[in-house]
């Protein structure tokens, strides 16, 4: 019998022969390396991996992975990927997209792909700026941000990607700093394992047009104090000394210190990523201090392709038609003699 187990791939198996052309120092390199490390761990055949992208710096991604891939048109990656997955549900389909690509020009596809819950993985490179068009504000740029198209400061309030995703009924949402390859690699593997649309927001620093936009959260010196990395089933603890945590105070999250005011570790909130009710996930997404990273939401339910397959089987078993001739010659036909 042929061995159907997936062969053990290495980083190099997924590395394409194309020269990577992002700016030196860009977090995109971290994302690419994390992905190339994650892919061999996914138990997916190389020929079954498909990367789809739209337009933007992030969207060059498919060229750098030696798998099947398509560099599409601006904003449409999620829709192209939906077609790929519906055509062949056995494929592992990935979308590489940016904040402009996914939430401005492609906003409609972004919300609908999340609503439908196809088993796709979307990596959202959020750098709060338009890079490839050289520095205009994006739908995640903060108020007051000075850019080439907002020289006096941005007046358009931003989206919070996670909040938009939850509103669109996302089942899997994770957030990760662009400078943490180890955690990112693990997240990519978790996203692939999750059955349904996974959205991973990477806080990706653009060294040229928006350098340092996440430094307050992601810089090594402050990261432990500023970020709370959640794990399902674990208490919400953060801080260099692991001494801070979150509790629920009325309808808001409150930061407490273990050992103060009789607070013990067991008083802290325990993260439940699998809770269907999204209110806590929503609160975690919107928290700015600490900034929550990790898998915030992970709630499985049937995917679109599963629902479609089930329905197709049902229709097939109730139908007398198996070939088109059965249809063409059925019903109201008549003979001309």
């Amino acid at each position: 019998m042929e061995d159907i187990a997936v062969k053990q791939y290495t980083f190099k198996d997924f590395q394409s022969d194309q020269e990577v052309r992002w700016c030196p120092g860009c977090d995109d390199y971290v994302i690419l390396r994390s992905m190339l490390k994650a892919l061999p761990e996914m138990e997916v055949k190389k020929e079954d991996v498909v990367f789809i992208s739209g337009i933007g710096c992030s969207s060059r991604f498919p060229y750098y992975v030696d798998s099947y891939g398509m560099h599409g048109i601006h904003g449409r990656a999620a829709a192209i990927a939906s077609g790929v997955k519906l055509a062949n549900p056995n494929l592992s389909v990935w979308v590489a997209t940016g904040d402009g690509d996914a939430m401005a020009i492609g906003g409609n596809h972004f919300i609908h792909v999340l609503r439908r819950n196809l088993d796709l993985n979307i990596v959202l490179f959020n750098n709060e700026i338009y890079g490839l068009t050289k520095g205009q504000f994006s739908p995640t740029s903060v108020l007051g941000q000075k850019t080439k198209s907002s020289p006096y400061g941005n007046t358009q309030p931003p989206f919070q990607p996670g909040e938009l995703a939850i509103g669109a009924r996302a089942r899997f949402f994770a957030r990760i700093g662009g400078n943490t390859p180890k955690e990112m690699t693990k997240l990519f593997i978790d996203a692939e394992k999750f059955k349904g649309t996974s959205l991973i927001e990477v806080l990706q620093n653009c060294v040229i047009f928006n350098d340092g936009c996440f430094t307050n959260y992601t810089d090594k010196a402050v990261k432990d104090e500023q970020q709370l990395h959640v794990e399902h089933g674990e208490p919400m603890i953060f801080g260099k000394n692991k001494d801070k945590g979150l509790i629920l105070d009325g309808l808001t999250l409150k930061i407490v210190t273990i050992g103060e005011d009789n607070i013990e570790e067991k008083d802290l909130l325990v993260h439940d990523a699998k809770c269907e009710n999204e209110i806590m996930h929503h609160m975690l997404i919107n928290l700015r201090y600490p900034l929550v990273t990790g898998i915030i939401r992970s709630v499985e339910e049937p995917t679109l392709e599963e629902r479609e397959a089930e329905l197709t089987e049902q229709v097939k078993s109730n139908s007398n038609f198996s070939k088109v001739d059965d249809l063409f010659f059925s019903g109201e036909t008549y003979e001309v003699k």
Partner: protein
């Protein structure tokens, strides 16, 4: 013409006719489409050739009795070849004053109008903007008007059945149908069977409808106002098994056949738009064939998901109408650049912008040809009748899959909603479809390696080991397929993509003019005007004119013998339901010929009478 209502005829005469045109009109809720369809099916099964044309408002249930809420169904039946739903009417059945007012002009002088007098109330007359009652003011003098109190007679017939008033009034269309069945010697059996099947679980409704149609039938038989009935002999169509199809159904079925023949699964990505939506409605039914029909969030997702499905190895199509084609333009460019096989169906409607959604027009030809950024030729073909939508949907799939290029298939609202007999084609009678799929990398595969003859690139489908590759909208190197901005490479790739589409001319049939190989006048058309042009040329040819008809199904590229056909006629006239779009293309390609134009943009098909008048003038001018 006044009719003597007192005179009786002992036995009614039967008059032989070759063809008749009948139109049923009423409120959009009056069931005119059903009435017309029943008459059509019954006539077709009797052996007549038929062609139909429904005409309905874009409002779903327009205010009752209003002029813009009139829904109509026209059917042309004959013992002779029928190519169009007909121009002027032999019989108009008007269920209300608004229907009479909006359709009267189409009735031939001296011919018959049946009206439901019960609906000619003061209120309805006002809604139809009649100042005086046309049944009383002499304005219908030139017609033979049969006044029937259909609503009251229907109510009378259904007395004691226990039906509510609404259901009673709703079945009056069957009274009208019964009358018309008697007048044209039709058997009621098909319709009676239809009721039984349709209302299997509502036997009272089936009984009511059967009762009303019979009442109408016998009423006509005894009514002195109708002195005779007509007989239309079966036509001499080729032997075989037939069914009545409309263009949208035939289009959908053509794709089903192409999927089965090519061995690929069918994917449809679509967003609802009039008048293309019925193709989606049809294909979603066929999950038993494994059809994946995806109603997307917008037109763009409709086509881009289609591109994704094509990349993943399906026969992938998207369906739309004019405004949707505009939205899909950029994505067609992507499919063209990545050289993926997709079919884009554009069921044209009146434009520009939202235009006339439920009316027909041929004004998207230039959009299909040129409506994209950059040098981006695609194959453009057009279906020409309801039934041949089947063949051209199949052909569009074959060309896309074998030449690795997007194909735009143009149909229009007229043939999409119109119906005619289709001599059913079995899958075994259809030509093979051989997509250029490769499954191993033994010969150093490159995604842009091409077939030497057709220039179609290899199709390596995700899931195939060893053939992993990336494609995209950026220009790529001619040999490696890698992204390239090299100036000479770009020019070379631009030429290759153009040449690939041009070489399709080696795989398509010649243009063959009908009725004359040479002569005084060549009538040129494309798409859904075939029936009207064909009828006009046929009639004139019979009368001895040296006139031919060349109808284009292949617009990009064109058949190789096109210039040769043009050279054999003294004059060429290009007839289109637009302001001259094919003319524009022809003038650019064949500037050695003078192309005269005949254009109409009223949202309506050509009138055969008008066409003949125009053609005769042109021939006489010499």
């Amino acid at each position: 013409m006044t009719l003597d209502k007192t005179k009786t005829t002992a036995k009614k005469k039967v008059e032989q006719v070759n063809a008749v045109v009948i139109r049923f009109v009423g409120d959009s809720g009056d069931g005119m489409q059903l009435t017309g369809t029943q008459f059509t099916d019954t006539s077709a099964m009797f052996g007549n050739d038929v062609a139909t044309f429904p005409n309905y408002p874009s409002e779903i249930r327009a205010p009752q009795g209003s002029l813009y809420g009139v829904s109509g169904f026209q059917v042309h039946i004959g013992s002779v070849e029928i190519s169009t739903p007909g121009d002027d009417l032999d019989l108009l059945v008007a269920m209300n004053p608004a229907g009479l007012k909006t359709n009267l002009k189409a009735v031939k002088a001296g011919h018959t109008i049946i009206v439901d007098t019960d609906s000619f109330t003061k209120k309805n007359l006002q809604k139809a903007e009649y100042e005086t009652n046309p049944l009383e003011d002499g304005s219908l003098e030139n017609y033979r008007v049969i006044e029937v109190a259909m609503t009251s007679l229907t109510r009378e017939a259904l007395k004691g059945l226990g039906l509510d008033n609404k259901s009673i009034v709703r079945s009056k269309n069957m009274f009208a149908l019964g009358m018309v069945y008697w007048m044209y010697g039709r058997d009621m059996k098909h319709t009676l069977d239809f009721f039984e099947k349709k209302f299997k679980f509502k036997p009272i409704i089936a009984e009511a409808n059967s009762k009303v149609i019979k009442t109408g039938y016998f009423f006509a038989e005894t009514l002195e106002l109708i002195p005779n009935s007509y007989s239309i002999a079966p036509s001499t169509m080729p032997k075989g098994t037939y069914r009545i199809v409309n263009g949208n159904t035939a289009t959908a079925w053509g794709f089903l056949a192409a999927a089965e023949k090519s061995g690929l699964e069918l994917y449809l990505g679509s967003y609802p738009i009039t008048p293309a939506t019925d193709i989606l409605h049809e294909l979603v039914k066929h999950k038993h064939f494994g059809v994946k029909a995806f109603q997307a969030e917008d037109e763009i997702a409709g086509i881009t998901s289609t591109i994704g499905a094509a990349f993943a190895g399906d026969l992938a199509i998207t369906t739309t109408s004019g405004p949707g084609l505009a939205l899909k333009g950029e994505a067609i460019g992507l499919a063209m650049m990545t050289e993926l096989p997709i079919v884009v169906v554009n069921v044209q409607r009146g434009g520009p912008s939202t235009g006339l959604p439920t009316r027909t027009e041929q004004s998207d030809l230039l959009q299909a040809m040129y409506g994209r950024n950059g040098e981006s030729p695609v194959i453009v073909i057009a279906a020409s009748s309801p039934a041949d939508c089947f063949d051209y949907a199949f052909e569009a799939s074959k060309l896309a899959l074998e030449h690795m290029t997007p194909v735009i298939l143009l149909t229009d609202g007229y043939i999409a909603n119109g119906s005619e007999p289709w001599k059913i084609k079995s899958i075994k009678d259809m030509p093979d479809i051989k997509p250029n799929i490769i499954t191993n990398d033994s010969e150093g595969y490159g995604p842009f390696d091409r077939d030497n003859d057709s220039l179609a690139r290899n199709w390596a489908i995700p899931g195939t080991p060893g053939l992993e590759h990336r494609i995209g909208g950026l220009e790529k190197n001619e040999f490696t397929g890698n992204v390239s901005h090299d100036p000479l490479n770009h020019e070379s790739m631009t030429n290759i993509r153009a040449e690939k589409v041009k070489r399709v001319e080696n795989y398509i049939p010649d243009l063959t003019p009908e009725y004359a190989e040479e002569g005084d006048l060549l009538v040129v058309g494309w798409g859904g005007t075939y029936g009207s042009l064909h009828s006009a040329v046929r009639d004139m040819s019979k009368d001895g004119y040296k006139i031919g008809h060349a109808h284009f199904h292949y617009i990009n590229p064109m058949s190789k013998n096109t210039a040769d056909v043009f050279s054999r006629f003294k004059k060429i006239i290009v007839c289109e339901l637009n302001k001259g779009q094919l003319s524009f293309v022809l003038k650019g390609k064949f500037n050695q010929y003078d192309f005269l134009q005949y254009n109409k943009v009223q949202g309506l098909p050509f009138s055969v009478i008008d066409l003949k008048a125009k053609f005769k003038t042109l021939i006489k001018e010499d």
